[in-house]
């Protein structure tokens, strides 16, 4: 029984991180239908920003986690720059495939640019303690407060994002753009500005994800976003990409699948099962668990 609970907790811990990252993916994909492969690398940017600013925050007498503010700013800036410099010009010219390849190129660029910066370099860095440890015990297994707060933050972010897209003016504009770009222009929506703001929000979220990730898995390195981003993306697709609650659901499922295969099936095949779940879901329900099947307009 305790093994089961332990596995469940690990699954939730991983899943909540995946969910948080997946929310950013889904946000951007929902608006411009682009798998932003660089999203994982935004997490790396956020991670390094915090590594550099935590001492600053501590020096100012603030708790370590406040450095996330800098990270949010930095990530949003990187996200907006990426959109302005790389994605926008290509969206005008190319197909969705060239856009996807650009996203891969941006991801490569960020990873290697980080390595080329002397202060970062190829070596991993370990963050200092961000939250104090502690937790409560279920059936003899400790559930850490950090895990709980990650889940809570993911849920809050999910609700806020959902309300934001439903209720606010900018959110409505985002939904319009995702439905029909040309029509949005006609309705007086500044499409480019909306997309840039979406990127800012999505990338800012990746900084929050970076904070929660680092609180539990304190290693920061230049390629950290690759597998994390990939799994989070899988989570977003699994839940139904573009659908905000879907990202949360998908993230938790992926985390739980990973944890339970490690414990009960084969620890070295966990990734296989994660992708297998994705493949099975996509084949049964091509738009994801919460997604609606939309045929191409003829």
């Amino acid at each position: 029984m305790s093994t089961f609970i332990q596995t469940l907790i690990v699954g939730l811990r991983l899943g909540s991180i995946y969910a948080l990252v997946a929310l950013g993916y889904t946000m951007v994909y929902g608006i411009i239908r682009l798998i932003n492969f660089a999203h994982g690398d935004f997490i790396m940017v956020g991670g390094y920003t915090m590594i550099f600013t935590i001492p600053l925050a501590l020096a100012m007498g603030l708790p370590a986690w406040t450095s996330v503010v800098f990270a949010i700013l930095c990530c949003a800036l990187v996200g907006m720059t990426t959109e302005l410099v790389a994605y926008r010009p290509i969206r005008k010219k190319g197909t969705s495939m060239t856009a996807l390849i650009t996203a891969i190129a941006v991801s490569m660029l960020l990873e290697n640019l980080a390595q080329a910066i002397p202060a970062i370099g190829p070596n991993p860095v370990v963050a200092s303690q961000i939250f104090s440890t502690g937790g409560f015990s279920i059936a003899g297994v400790t559930m850490e407060w950090t895990t709980v707060s990650t889940i809570v933050i993911s849920a809050v972010v999910m609700v806020v994002l959902y309300q934001f897209t439903q209720k606010t003016k900018l959110g409505r504009a985002m939904r319009c753009v995702s439905e029909d770009k040309e029509a949005s222009i006609l309705m007086g929506i500044n499409v480019n500005r909306t997309i840039v703001l979406t990127f800012a929000i999505g990338s800012g979220l990746s900084a929050v994800a970076a904070l929660m990730y680092m609180a539990q898995y304190p290693k920061v390195y230049t390629t950290m976003g690759m597998m994390l981003g990939l799994k989070a993306f899988v989570a977003a697709v699994l839940g139904g990409i573009g659908i905000i609650p879907g990202a949360m659901l998908g993230g938790l499922i992926i985390g739980l699948v990973e944890s339970f295969t490690t414990s009960y099936v084969s620890s070295s095949m966990a990734d296989t099962f994660v992708f297998l779940i994705l493949i099975i879901v996509l084949i049964i329900k091509p738009a994801g668990i919460l997604g609606k099947n939309v045929g191409e307009k003829v």
Partner: protein, 407 residues
């Protein structure tokens, strides 16, 4: 049509310019190479040693460990008058931690007429070039590739470190000696180093009558959660777990998570644990690092002159404590020096014969040793433990094992 022609022209230009670059590159490399090879080590001449290391890619840290230590050793040798009066020159090549690139780097060095090569760092890359070294009759001395199959009798491949089978067996022997009859293993299935150590540990356990009761693995080195694996160890009731991973996994992830999962026993590792104290979470409760043991090639805290002068010189030059790979690379340069002096020649075959002499004794930072028939040093392993009072982690030399105990 115009566009097409323009395209073709552009491509042609690109190819031509590249060919020109390449041509000049290889031509430039060819001329000194040919003359180099023919040269006998007359006083005042130059001895060229090639090094292959992963300067870019995910193990770039090891690359810089090797290049810095080799630079230090060469600087010392040249300042002291060189080898047989000849100055030493280093030509470095990058293998990107990729076997294909490693072979390319090797071929490139050989084509420059270099017959003495130090490299590569990892077992995976080195095994891609061992047979090429034999075929080309080029001396290959790897500082740190520990896989058993790297060196064989009658070949051109040697190393400065001990092999996996020794390192794994030391750990198994230590388990037995400490009174554990049931042990567990957590290893990475996708990593040559980790898998190799697991295999040798497993074999040695059988020999020493220790039962490997639980085995868990991870699919890649990118895995960040090891809680379930150690929870299984707790469930299996083992109190000694062999976890051959690298420092960047041990420090931030494994030890903390293992303790959090309720595992209180011993965690044992290998030379990959080197530098762990630089990779722990500041501000966390570091007392979890007690009861973590590992085998290493040397201990930087060793008080012997040899070690201390190396550590001091390295710290003065690069501002960091040298890790075991640096120490091994440093020793590798001196092994070549001794062999060249003995052979009185830089000819690869002569140096090979000198290195193959099992009676030669090398005194290096990583101990005093001679090579066995296959070309692997017979030297002791330091068993080191981490100790922590809660806020910092320090290393402590537990034992130096000269040879494996009998079963």
């Amino acid at each position: 049509m115009k566009k097409k022609l323009a395209c073709l022209l552009l491509a042609a230009c690109m190819c031509l310019s590249l060919a020109a670059c390449g041509g000049s590159g290889s031509a430039a490399s060819a001329t000194p190479a040919a003359s180099d090879a023919a040269e006998t080590p007359a006083a005042g001449g130059e001895i060229t040693i090639g090094t292959i290391s992963p300067n870019t890619g995910s193990l770039a840290a090891y690359g810089s460990a090797v290049t810095t230590a080799v630079d230090l050793a060469v600087e010392e040798i040249n300042a002291a008058g060189g080898i047989n009066g000849s100055q030493v020159k280093i030509v470095n090549a990058d293998d990107q931690f990729d076997p294909t690139e490693c072979l390319n780097a090797f071929n490139s060095l050989v084509s420059q007429g270099i017959g003495l090569i130090i490299g590569s760092v990892t077992s995976g890359c080195t095994s891609a070039i061992t047979d090429a070294a034999n075929e080309e009759q080029v001396c290959l001395l790897t500082p740190s590739a520990t896989a058993d199959s790297i060196t064989t009798v009658d070949d051109y491949v040697f190393r400065a470190c001990y092999a996996d089978s020794f390192q794994g067996a030391i750990a198994a022997a230590y388990a037995k000696q400490s009174g554990y009859t049931e042990v567990g293993v957590v290893y990475c299935a996708a990593d040559t180093y980790s898998k190799g150590l697991y295999d040798s540990f497993n074999t040695a356990c059988e020999k020493y009558g220790v039962t490997v009761k639980a085995v868990e693995s991870t699919a890649s080195l990118d895995v960040q959660d090891y809680t379930n694996q150690f929870a299984s160890m707790v469930k299996a009731g083992v109190e000694f777990v062999y976890a051959p991973y690298y420092y960047d996994v041990i420090g931030p992830y494994i030890v903390t998570q293992a303790r959090a999962a309720g595992y209180k026993g011993i965690i044992m590792g290998a030379d990959g644990y080197d530098s762990t104290p630089d990779y722990v979470v500041d501000g966390a409760d570091l007392s979890v690092f007690n009861d973590v043991y590992w085998t290493n090639h040397y201990d930087p805290a060793d008080t012997s002159d040899k070690v201390q002068s190396f550590v001091k010189a390295y710290e003065a030059k690069f501002g960091a404590t040298p890790n075991a790979i640096s120490a091994l690379a440093y020793d590798a340069v001196y092994m070549y020096k001794q062999a060249i002096e003995k052979a009185a020649s830089t000819d690869a075959t002569a140096v090979r014969d000198a290195l193959a002499d099992t009676s030669a004794v090398y005194t290096g930072v990583t101990g005093t040793f001679s090579l066995d028939a296959s070309g692997t040093p017979t030297k002791g392993a330091s068993i080191i433990s981490f100790t922590s009072e809660g806020t910092t982690v320090t290393t402590k030399l537990v034992d130096v094992v000269k040879e494996l105990p009998q079963a």
